[in-house]
Symmetry: C2
Subunit: 312 residues, 2 copies
Amino acid sequence: MSANLPIVGAIEAGGTKFVCAVGRGSKSDLLETDEFPTGSDPQAVIGKVVDWLKSREARFGTLPAIGIASFGPVDLDPKSPTYGYITTTPKEGWKNTDIVGAVRRAFPGRAIGFDTDVNGAALGELRWGYARGLEDFIYVTVGTGIGGGGFARGRPLHGLVHPEMGHIPLPPVGDDPFPGNCRIHGRCWEGFCAGPAIERRAGMPGKMIPADHPVWELTTRSMAQALLTLTYVLSPRRIIIGGSVRKAGRLGEDAFFAMIRRHFHELNNGYISSPALSPEGLERYIVPPELGDAAGICGAVALGQDALRAGG
Amino acid sequence: MSANLPIVGAIEAGGTKFVCAVGRGSKSDLLETDEFPTGSDPQAVIGKVVDWLKSREARFGTLPAIGIASFGPVDLDPKSPTYGYITTTPKEGWKNTDIVGAVRRAFPGRAIGFDTDVNGAALGELRWGYARGLEDFIYVTVGTGIGGGGFARGRPLHGLVHPEMGHIPLPPVGDDPFPGNCRIHGRCWEGFCAGPAIERRAGMPGKMIPADHPVWELTTRSMAQALLTLTYVLSPRRIIIGGSVRKAGRLGEDAFFAMIRRHFHELNNGYISSPALSPEGLERYIVPPELGDAAGICGAVALGQDALRAGG
């Protein structure tokens, strides 16, 4: 289904690793991929990615566009002097990194697409995954941190900066005394549900947590509180959850999602009455990405193609 | 500035009263207004509004369009068989009321605009108030209940149904034992900050609560938690707060907003770094409606004009 789409370059800039690809579409249409550790020297890793893409051009021809989906915060305002920068990140070495500029200088004249990592993954799912045909949906990644992006009325969520959904305040579950693990906010979504919070509560690596450990009940309850908040604020037609935490070690992905859906149903308490939010509807409302862990890099391909189509 | 805009009919359907108007624009361009109690008989009050608008036509000529901004939940999906209905409201007598159909039958052939009451007020502020020129902003009304609407990337927030921001879960402030006043969710935004919650906490009517009563500190802290959530989810460029609670009785509107801004700044804790969220920036970021209590009816005028422009 991607046969008529152009072959472009794609960069998924994550906090742990950079994934790069040359492709024209979804997972099966990625011609080549590779990855490099993010590290603390932006010029070094961006240089490796640029070299990798240039060497692919010898094989696949000039890449007319490159899509970049990046960790943030990033500056998405095309009128801003720091458009295309990773701005105030606490990540060592990365503050004020002109990632779009570096790629543009290496590939002059090409169309460059740019958005957050999560809006990129959301675009991947919109084009080739579970968000096909949806104007309003959310993509959340739950891993070392939590980030959220998505589309409202068919356009990616930008605004003052861009969404930082992972840091919404959340109530504790019952009288749970856990102070939350977020350095900045304590008890926010990330402070309750990101991988490090789960491991701190359980006192063991995520993969070792037994399926019947109470931390799963607490985590999925907090996840449901956060997703209910997103539903009440944005009224999305679907919520897609990517990232490593969803695999839930010994509990397993299916059980993890089933617990989230059960809590969501209880917390909504019939308030928003929609077939999509019934117990059966929720099986299609809260889902993992159809593209799995490739949602981000496929989204970067789509960002490149969209920039090419927009002429920029 | 509204001189070139057409004169249309407007209906603001609220849970307590229906406001109707004939006008071409902002407050000073409303030619006539009137209001009727909502009551529990939809046909009765809609009949009064229709009669009122028809009698205005004798003076101002045929109204080419009528805008309706309604309490909800409402069905906003033009493809739905119940488009234009107030659907599952707990309000006595109002469940499954075809408000758009009733107005359409009384005024055949006219353009009818329809949205939620808060999206209507948001549109009023976008056209003639503090949201002028903003693609991404939120309008919240805090009164007997709490509702939120707004625009993302220039389009009103719709989706699966429409936002129900007033019911997002919120943490308690510190170890505050108040169980929350929401019949459905207990401790949600409405359960902490709507008028009845404030009065229940204070044990007296809102207008009598002294300016130094601790309920104001608790309420404005919860308000800030909710607004921070909206900022993290949607990244709006401004948040406008209408409704009666903002006037804050003996505390006063200015002090109420100042307290919310102070808490917001503390809770963000520097996480989103933007001049708009600095103490000075927040004076323009969290604001009352420029149109005051007329935001809703002016928005209904704009809904009518937009429907006319869209041809339907």
